[in-house]
Symmetry: C2
Subunit: 477 residues, 2 copies
């Protein structure tokens, strides 16, 4: 029987990237759909990936002095309205609870789209003096945004995230916090998920509703579209003024606190799929893979094979997250499932391998196969997992560079994007009118003003006036 | 300055148990109130307790072969209505979302009060053959029940929990699962939280909406009222029939799956407070305490004291969850805070102790204080923490026995409960009419039909007809 027969057909990236994505998330059994529009069921395999990301991020959040809390799911309409910019930004996309049991509520409750106002109300209660500062709180929660078009992980009615909300004595300290968390997000993307990122600041137009400024971590997907992977906001004292969060400072005077918030969501799983995946399915970086090594016994009905495979599994479980597929399915089917689910390493072992004192080791990322003797097994697997992690990052980084173009006129942008989706570096005057023009004419939005600036020309790509910043532009998820 | 001056006044249990409870949850900084009626803000200290419970339960859930998933927050009204008993049970207490953004929804969505119907819909999609069984899923989530009267942890509009939902080939297997999870809950209560429990079955009247039967773990609070700490339900194939969850069995015939569900909530924190707390505040069992040992330096302005205290803290951090209160507050204030927050052990160290090469060790549960030499420190602390855990459990177990009475007539129940709240053992004929009578006349509800049966008489406590079961009755939270 040829291997082909076992291949679960998925659409190729080339043919239809959106369909490829849907095929991967469902056939790798990350999510299932339900009768709840725009919401997803995160299945065990998808949830294990999220747990691995969450646990590592939670560790880093705690290590940097933050404490976890839990805030209510509902926000009374009047509370949401207390900060003007914030309500304007979120009102069009919230779900409203109007009835509790059999009765109509006197005041509507929105299902939290984010929890700034709840934290603000609480902070007003518990902060009185500079001795109470900083307050470094975080929560892991579900939030709801009433999106019209939805796609698993990327844009869903409900998603899971962590949202940090902090209060500080000084602007300087709050800005440092905003930066600290952005860097944690960036290194989480790069080190754990092998996703290279661009760090920068959002434009005024693209910043968070109510923030003074928003820092962002942007990444590039396989199809040349950008994705905002995480954001960190500096609020100044805007919310503090709206909610009356004041403290007695070191000089004995009342002052408003300086605030930040920052969030990281299940969206990152979508990014990981679209950065690393290929036409055979998911490709998971070893650092995050629920299963790093899968043992597949060949001709497992033959005496000794299954026992030997289980021994191997127990042996490898000491150095990696290892499991075994001991089902009675055909090896070809098992190989394809392994590939569809993006398991970094597959160890094949059959009667001939046992005779020779070896196993066959197959890499998911490059497709390479090699025979490994049993005495070199641990060493080879540890080294190969490290190499896969590094190689995946480098490959993605290379693609990021390859898919980045320079543009000097708006026609350049149009022409580049007419050919294919790419990330575009272009100078900008800082005027929102130009940003709007570019979006209207090319479909590209400003992704960020990167911290690492270059001067690629002196004039704005749109209006030709003197440029203030180099900006990354792209079509985006 | 006398120690009294630093005592944060809390109401005594004797004077007003409900007010004592509210004082403890707020003054120990477990929760804060917000403008969201009936919801609570779980503050860092309260959330750390929940994280400790959650992590241990999650470990045991996974160890027994279950996998975590995540289901949508919303349930379309039509889906909720698919199982008749279930919707009847929950309809009066759900929150309804009627608007998304600016538009009215075509179909109302309820905010999940529990997720049986979502799991059922998903299981119908993914279960086809006996090879797909068992399915052992669990989720950690927030749920909403539109309660009229609420109290932190005990009864809140929104609470956190885990809900397990499983599908099995046979009734026998599903019943074993229902039992397995009940036993896990019971040993979690006893071993981790030092809360003695009674395991049993709920009556038909008190069982979960839609279940064939409900197992429960009941515990007794300091004020003689009972609290249902966890439940585990066997559904038979009721939901499977309502949702069409069928599989090809080993004989190649279509059959409905057998289901269970089971849940454990933030309510347990309320139970822990009311079982162990005293008039000085919270008393936490060491196994769950976020801080097991707190170092309090005395006269910390004197040279060497603070350094010595930090050394001790680092030394103890190797064997316990240890922290230090190095603030400039008075020792008396620190002692009281330690007691209010229920920290099991306090280590006091001042200039004289340093001179003598010792520390003062104070137990929260018994109030005992002893001098311990530095070379016996680790050994003493480890042993004392174990002793506190054991002593707390035994003390609670003793109280459970002391507060349990036998009743032979309904007048007995009335008389007992007129004096004080107690747990009552009495025989029952199995008739719901008697159960209703008892509730109406005495305020006591049937807590459970315990697995460990006794025959304390032959006739029903209410109607005098032949009795079938011994039942625990009590007023309950």
């Amino acid at each position: 029987m040829s291997k082909k027969q076992f291949v679960e057909k998925i659409t190729s990236m080339e043919d239809d990237f959106a369909q490829w994505y849907t095929d991967v998330v469902t056939k790798a059994r990350l999510v299932d759909y339900s009768s709840v529009r725009g919401s997803m069921i995160i299945q065990p395999y998808g949830f294990k990936i999220w747990e691995n990301i969450r646990d590592e991020l939670d560790r880093q959040i705690k290590e940097t002095g933050h404490e976890n809390v839990y805030m209510p799911l509902f926000i009374p309409e009047s509370l949401l309205q207390q900060e003007k910019d914030h309500i304007e930004g979120f009102a069009p996309e919230v779900a409203w609870v109007t009835h509790g049991g059999e009765s109509e509520l006197q005041e509507r409750l929105c299902v939290r789209p984010t929890s700034e106002v709840l934290f603000a109300e609480h902070y007003k209660n518990i902060i009185h003096s500079y001795r109470d500062l900083p307050k470094l709180y975080n929560q892991w929660a579900n939030v709801v945004r009433w999106e019209k078009t939805t796609r698993p992980f990327l844009r869903t009615l409900e998603f899971l995230w962590q949202e940090g909300h902090t209060c500080h004595e000084t602007e300087q300290e709050a800005i440092e916090e905003t930066e600290r968390m952005l860097h944690i997000y960036a290194s989480l993307c790069e080190d754990l998920l092998a996703i290279p990122v661009i760090k920068g600041r959002k434009t005024e137009k693209e910043k968070f509703a109510g923030a003074r400024f928003t820092y962002t971590v942007e990444s590039l997907m396989h199809d040349g579209k950008a994705l905002q992977t995480a954001t960190s906001h500096f609020f100044g004292n805007g919310f503090a003024k709206a909610f009356g969060i004041e403290f007695l400072n070191r000089e004995g005077k009342l002052e408003h606190v300086q605030q930040t918030s920052w969030g990281f969501t299940t969206r990152i799983i979508g990014a990981m799929i679209m950065v690393h995946g290929d036409d055979r399915g998911l490709v998971l970086p070893p650092n995050i893979a629920p299963t790093q090594v899968r043992i597949v016994p060949i001709a497992s009905h033959k005496e000794g094979v299954l026992d030997h495979a289980y021994e191997l599994k127990n042996r490898l479980a000491r150095i990696a997250r290892a499991d075994i597929d001991a089902s009675d399915k055909q090896p070809g089917w098992k190989f394809n499932e392994c590939e569809m689910q993006g398991i970094p390493l597959r160890v094949e072992v059959g009667p001939k391998d046992i005779e020779k004192g070896q196993v066959m080791l197959a890499r998911r990322d490059t497709g390479e196969k090699q025979a490994v003797t049993l005495d070199a097994l641990e060493q080879t697997i540890t080294a190969t997992l490290e190499d896969i992690q590094r190689t995946m990052y480098e490959k993605a980084k290379e693609r990021l560079h390859e898919k980045t173009s320079h543009a000097y006129t708006i026609e350049d942008i149009e022409q580049i994007l007419a050919e294919e989706n790419r990330l575009i570096k272009a100078m900008w005057c800082g005027d929102e009118a130009c940003e709007n023009d570019i979006k209207e004419r090319t479909g590209a939005t400003s992704r960020c003003i990167p911290f690492e600036q270059e001067t690629i020309s002196d004039t704005c790509v749109c209006c030709g006036k003197p440029a203030s910043d180099m900006v990354f532009w792209a079509k985006a998820y």
